[in-house]
Symmetry: C2
Subunit: 397 residues, 2 copies
């Protein structure tokens, strides 16, 4: 196939019947979130670089797809060696949400429970199962300072996953305040521990020797102690208030019958978290299905008061990969009508329309008979058509 016909590097096309499956899974998740009272919003794909890059988005910052200025503005910048871009594609939905909340504070209910589902873009090295464009499905609670926010987000996320048939999930929890106390105990006081978190986050993927290398600018004995601590952990190493809140989240989730556990090695490679962090894991899968945490005060970056904020994001593609397509069958009787010529097509189109009106539960797909009728029949069967009628007859109705 010609090079020009390919999608851009690291991105992909979604073919039938996967497109319809994705729509159904997305709606099932959003329906569950709606029943929890999360209100759906949208934000633009593009944000000002000042919004995106002032965000402490960790490694994401390097990965932003920037938009080239246009026309005279570009010519001017090129002639004086200035900035070629002032906007980029969002790399997550959290930073845009904080901007959104700051922008519309007076028009939002408060506390604000919000759902947000859309594509994000990251210029990462493409790899098997990792794409540069992917969909996140986020819920966030703005204005709730207590662990009730964490509990509800974990509860709704696990319910959404089991609602689409992804069972057997566990939510793992940790707290950035606990991590910070431990990191500073072993490595000494740090102005910003984010670079350490970013490397520690690679522990599972790359193993301890790699992480030792990544952290070779730090005291070696300290790094060793830190890595050892992460293996065992101790929820009480945190300031008492932090430990109590973490225990309250775990207890409430356990009381409701969820699988929830403390995970000292859970770090997450994003700079903006300020409190509890969490991920959804399933024992048979080597990556998380959802991730999130508390990021209090991000609204203050955008000129608004520093509000309590906490969110949980489902990796939509990862969930779609686990979904049983049979659970999202189209559930409709599907009838194809194949026609030999334009006259049969015209008659069958009119007849199909009348049949659809009489029979709202049935799909009627009128289409010209292909030269390779057998391949067409197979294709139609694959697309769920249980009946294939002859347009000559059908069009006479």
């Amino acid at each position: 196939m010609a090079q020009l016909a390919q999608p851009v590097r690291g991105m992909r096309d979604i073919l039938p019947p996967q497109g319809e499956l994705r729509r159904r899974v997305a709606n099932a998740i959003l329906d569950i979130y709606a029943r929890y009272g999360f209100e759906l919003i949208e934000t633009p794909a593009l944000e000002a670089l000042e919004v995106l890059l002032g965000s402490g988005g960790g490694e994401n910052e390097k990965l932003v797809f920037k938009i080239l200025k246009r026309g005279e503005r570009l010519d001017e910048e090129l002639s004086r060696g200035g900035e070629l871009s002032d906007a980029g594609l969002r790399f997550d939905l959290t930073v845009p949400l904080a901007r959104f909340v700051a922008n519309h504070l007076n028009d939002l209910p408060m506390p604000f429970k919000v759902a947000h589902m859309a594509s994000v873009w990251r210029g990462e090295r493409p790899a098997r199962g990792r794409f540069r464009e992917f969909v996140q499905c986020d819920i966030d609670i703005v204005g709730e300072p207590s662990a009730a926010a964490e509990v509800e987000l974990c509860s709704a996320t696990l319910d959404a996953l089991s609602g689409v048939g992804v069972q057997g999930c566990t939510v793992k929890l940790n707290d950035r305040r606990l991590l910070r106390a431990v990191v500073e105990k072993y490595l000494g006081p740090l102005e910003d521990p984010t670079p350490v978190y970013i490397e520690l986050d690679k522990l599972e993927r790359d193993g301890p020797s790699a992480v030792r290398r990544y952290l070779d600018g730090y005291d070696a004995a300290g790094v060793e102690g830190l890595l050892e601590w992460l293996e065992q952990g101790d929820i009480d190493a945190a300031p008492p208030e932090t430990s109590e809140a973490l225990k309250a989240t775990l207890r409430s989730l356990a009381d409701q019958g969820y699988a929830a556990e403390f995970d000292a090695a859970l770090v997450r490679g994003i700079g903006y978290y300020t409190g509890q962090i969490f991920e959804v894991r399933r024992p048979d899968i080597g990556y998380s299905l959802a991730g999130g945490g508390r990021y209090d005060g991000m609204t203050a970056r955008f000129g608004a008061p520093a509000l309590a904020m906490c969110g949980f994001s489902i990796g939509f593609e990862r969930v779609c990969d686990l979904v049983d397509p049979a659970l999202f069958g189209r559930g409709q009787h599907r009838v194809a009508v194949t026609c030999a010529n334009e006259d049969e097509l015209m008659r069958s189109l009119a007849a199909a329309r009348a049949r659809r009106a009489r029979d709202p539960g049935t799909v009627f797909n009128v289409v010209r008979r292909a030269r390779n009728a057998r391949k067409q029949q197979e294709d139609l069967t694959k697309l769920g058509y249980s009946e294939v009628l002859d347009g000559k007859e059908f069009g006479r109705q």
Copy 2:
């Protein structure tokens, strides 16, 4: 509000309850298309510039948001004055579809009836009601050369519009082959008439004196004759085969009870059309709700055989503006539970979860009681909550 909190110029945030309304309208349209047998696909937001700009997209080409190359690749281009971008955001869904079909030809049923709904981006001057990011909802038929494609696309599009309560629409039709014959009759032979179409397309918006000015490089008497012709038109000025096909489309739509009429002045400002073109209008609105046409052979640009292609695109925002929100009510009993403190919240979250399981038709929204309880009550009423319960009681269940 701080500048930094604003969306980028020409783009916008969607607040509740509009986000949920948009989801419901989108699903209603896609459900109707599914009943016609159109299969949903997705393509990436980014395409190679070679894909986008080799497309004869007319004025859209100037309006592409280009993606800046990154890292070493950018440094290299800057140092040698090379191309700073090789990819951009799609400005429509038609060009990406042609690439998609060329790429997956062997994996698609043929003829291929396809639905495609997504954001597109155009760097146009922002104006009232015109945004730089907007959603198109397209259906296309690939591999059907006859007017049966046009008929089915017009039928499905008008059914989708009336299905979401947008009644009283008319489809206006013309044919690029007719237009070309007329343009060349008045202006003489042209290698590419696209620049003329782009100016003629502004007739309704800017009026005839403006269009005379836009076309001042052409013979003035010829332009005058052309403008006069567009006012009256004559379907038989086309080559006989073209006139017959246009009449067949009109007849078939009229037979099915649709309002469909020939419109000599319908031009559309896009270069890639090769045959019939069409728009949906409603008499009370000064712009089209949907537009499309035949663009046979676009697949050949991407190294595939030149397939018959025809499509119709709904402007999603324009339709949402006309929809009656009452028709897309959430149809659910909505209960809010307001809580005074963390303890009430934790108990109420668990109680709400049990209630949702028992009563799948009801929304239970647990939230902390705001300091301004009256404003909160008003906000909850606006969001459709008919019952507001006290978490102290509710959490005891």
